[in-house]
Symmetry: C2
Subunit: 365 residues, 2 copies
């Protein structure tokens, strides 16, 4: 645990003059940690061989690998991430860009990513974009300076400059939450539009006919769900009966329980014929259910309510909330797995991974 022996620079000093106890002379800058050099010395090989043996790169004689690993273990050697990053111009960081930390959806995603990446030796750098492409571009610019080993970004809605930054960096990148059929683009998610359509269809199948769609934030994925909603109405021949617009409440404010309650009241007031409301996110729907309790509106008898994502608490509401369960944990896990393959230089058999969704019918519809 003491300082490692000074490097054996056989200087030109055959005759060692007095032992000038070099107390302050040449203080080592080293951190005291075992280095590649130390392991090499102990194993009786060159540092490069140690490097290769430990990384499992190229062919190294099995016997040497064994010896190196033993030495590394004995010395408690752990590679220095900074040195490695400098030499290879690639760090052990994975930057993850998500819109928001206050939406449980992304927290679940993040948690899953982290759980997969950390044990593999990757550190997660989290960037919050607040749904703003310009903020995302700035984050990207900043994180790319750190030469991340990989990148996970949310969706496909970004500035052209941001796209160029990603491409030019050559850093492997996986897109999450949506999938898109484009060559050389990796994505893990599900079809937001199909999910929106399926939920709407489920309400239609119950015999509901005046189905409103209420969304907040209005990010790209919200609008895709809206598309799905419209498709379902159209397919049911209802789009002609009532102009869609009359049944769509689109609010750009951030999603919240309070906003959901406000939207609920507004819809009942402005469109009393509505017999179901499909909220674009569970927090809105939960807020609506609470508002219904407050107002004495009976759900689902008077109006049915459905949400999206199956967030925590939705199964506790009164009534329990019908919703679309989205596989964000699986998305995080699979995205991490795909990214690791890419970072290793491997090839991915299924570059567009669709993990689907599930309609969860509960008490509110």
């Amino acid at each position: 645990m003491s300082n490692k022996p000074p490097p054996d620079d056989s200087r030109v000093e055959p005759i060692q003059p007095l032992q000038r106890k070099t107390a302050a002379v040449k203080r080592p800058r080293s951190s005291g940690r075992a280095t590649l050099q130390d392991v090499a010395l102990a194993a009786g090989v060159s540092p490069i061989t140690v490097s290769r043996a430990l990384r499992g790169e190229r062919a190294v004689a099995a016997e040497l690998v064994e010896r190196v690993q033993q030495a590394a273990l004995a010395l408690g050697y752990v590679p220095d991430p900074a040195a490695r990053a400098l030499a290879s111009s690639r760090s052990s960081h994975v930057a993850v860009l998500i819109p928001l930390l206050s939406n449980a959806l992304f927290v679940d995603l993040l948690d899953a990513v982290q759980r997969s990446l950390f044990p593999a030796g990757f550190q997660t750098l989290i960037g919050v974009t607040h749904y703003d492409p310009n903020e995302e571009e700035a984050l990207l610019r900043s994180y790319l300076l750190h030469r991340p080993a990989g990148l996970i970004v949310t969706g496909f809605d970004r500035t052209p400059a941001a796209k160029r930054l990603i491409d030019a960096s050559g850093v492997p990148c996986v897109h999450v939450m949506e999938t898109v059929a484009e060559p050389c683009v990796y994505s893990v998610g599900f079809s937001q539009a199909d999910a929106g359509q399926a939920m709407t269809q489920a309400l239609l199948d119950q015999g509901l006919r005046h189905i409103a769609f209420a969304a907040a934030q209005l990010d790209p994925r919200s609008l895709q769900r809206l598309d799905g909603y419209r498709r379902a109405l159209q397919a049911a021949g209802l789009a002609a009966v009532l102009p869609n617009k009359a049944l769509e409440w689109l609010n750009p404010l951030p999603s919240s329980l309070a906003l959901g309650g406000a939207l609920f009241e507004q819809i009942l007031r402005e469109a009393p014929q509505v017999d179901a409301i499909f909220f674009n996110n569970d927090d809105l729907a939960q807020g609506a259910l609470l508002a219904a309790l407050r107002l004495g509106v009976r759900v689902p008898e008077q109006v049915a309510v459905a949400g999206f994502n199956d967030l925590t608490g939705s199964d506790q509401m009164l009534p329990t909330l019908t919703t679309v369960r989205t596989p964000r944990s699986a998305i995080g896990r699979e995205a991490a797995r795909m990214l690791m393959t890419l970072m290793r230089g491997g090839s991915v058999t299924e570059p567009q991974l669709d993990l689907g969704f599930e309609i969860v019918r509960r008490g509110s519809s």
Copy 2:
């Protein structure tokens, strides 16, 4: 190459002009980014001066600073974090260790930390300990290898080994959520015990006498709140009337709406004399309010309910939830500020920063 390589070991060669200017025939490994060198060349100074001018370290002639900054700007120079970390054995990362990502409390904290640190050029590395000191120790071990510039950890409950790791690393460390009066320990938080006592006292002041305390997770801060609860009862002379134990429901499971509902039912069943329940976290209390609706128990007439933290949604419940508002965003912001002072080598005037709390009386009590 053409030059004869010098004798393998510098045996005895005091005289050696040695002008091995290796021509740059080789392919450059450089990334193409502007380097310190480039800026130095452009500004007509040495690289060290550029380094110092840009970091604002030591005294550099104002005129040179100006010139260097211009050159850096013109070349779009941005320091390489890896090189900087390797040379200085200190990265631009700040590791933040929190128990959970699924508790909104910590998400708020994290968000505030990130907002303060990122603009100052620090990257946040997030570690989730799941309330497990051993997991925390492992994370610490791993993150410390990256030579973080700073550390933010939650509370004071950690393994002795983890404490030693922090101390030995010499990395500035700020503790959040609690404060403790110990020399050389930096903390930003509030008194969890005082908050527990104040909430209990507020219920007592309303004339409630059979106040139950219900907690999940049972992490150190939960238990401190329990202490405060006991102090309040004792001060009111109620501890003697009823043995405390009969009014305490302590469940080690993770906090959740569902668990809150279950605890609520259990308490009403097992202790019908209870006229108020103080839940250790808002999610439990919210679950209790939903259970009350389900069961037809009138809150607060039949039993009052109080929570802790004032999480999102508590003001939307039916009835709205009485709770303790905790300053986690301010804690994150101030912890980041304190840490930045420490990382700069500055001294902190108030090493134990108590940010207080606030009782929020609403409909449930």
